[in-house]
Symmetry: C2
Subunit: 120 residues, 2 copies
């Protein structure tokens, strides 16, 4: 699911951050802000995407279940099968409330929206 | 395994980077540089630790199997059950050869050294 880097089966977290995220129409809709990792099992649960905002400055964030993203080698970035408008409707949080990503109520809305079985 | 952050079960990759790593004697032996993540399954496979070097400037790196680290809430950092000297003997790479982390020959030496079953 993650991008090619030599022929290694692993990738550094530093190479994931900042990668462009494209929508179903292959238009750019954001970039990877960071990964959320399960403390116990060590799985990546979500990818936090920086998107939207005035002049596209990315002042809102969406955590999206990891399973919803695929790496598109042609585009050189991640792709999610929704439009920019659908992403804008997804649960979000502002740059001024980063801890929302760790809030179970918010996470529940995210997994409902994306119709993914929660990891908890 | 990862550190506490509110009572969330997940943690952001940005909070892991830079965290201090302690040895078995609770002395500081390095800090987290980044995580290595399996492209397909989305598991954290290794933690890259920045350690050693002249005046402790951290000019050498070791990737260590994720399962070898535990978060120590008292110390406020990760702990591995080896001494600094044992870490220095572990497979390493320099700042000028970051791609070594993705090299299967290097990875094989790492998993041999730490006596952990490889993830590949």
């Amino acid at each position: 699911m993650l991008q090619e880097q030599t022929d290694s089966t692993v990738i550094g977290s530093d190479r994931v951050d900042g990668t462009t995220v494209y929508g179903v129409d292959k238009g750019k809709i954001g970039s990877v802000d960071k990964l959320l990792i399960d403390k116990r099992g060590g799985n990546v649960t979500d990818v936090v995407i920086s998107a939207g905002g005035f002049l596209g400055l990315g002042d809102e964030k969406h955590s999206i279940p990891w399973s919803k993203l695929d790496y598109d080698t042609d585009l050189g970035g991640y792709r999610i099968d929704v439009t920019k408008e659908q992403l804008m409707d997804a649960p979000r949080f502002g740059n001024n409330e980063p801890d929302r990503a760790y809030d179970r109520e918010y996470q529940t809305k995210v997994y409902d929206y994306w119709a993914v079985t929660p990891h908890w």
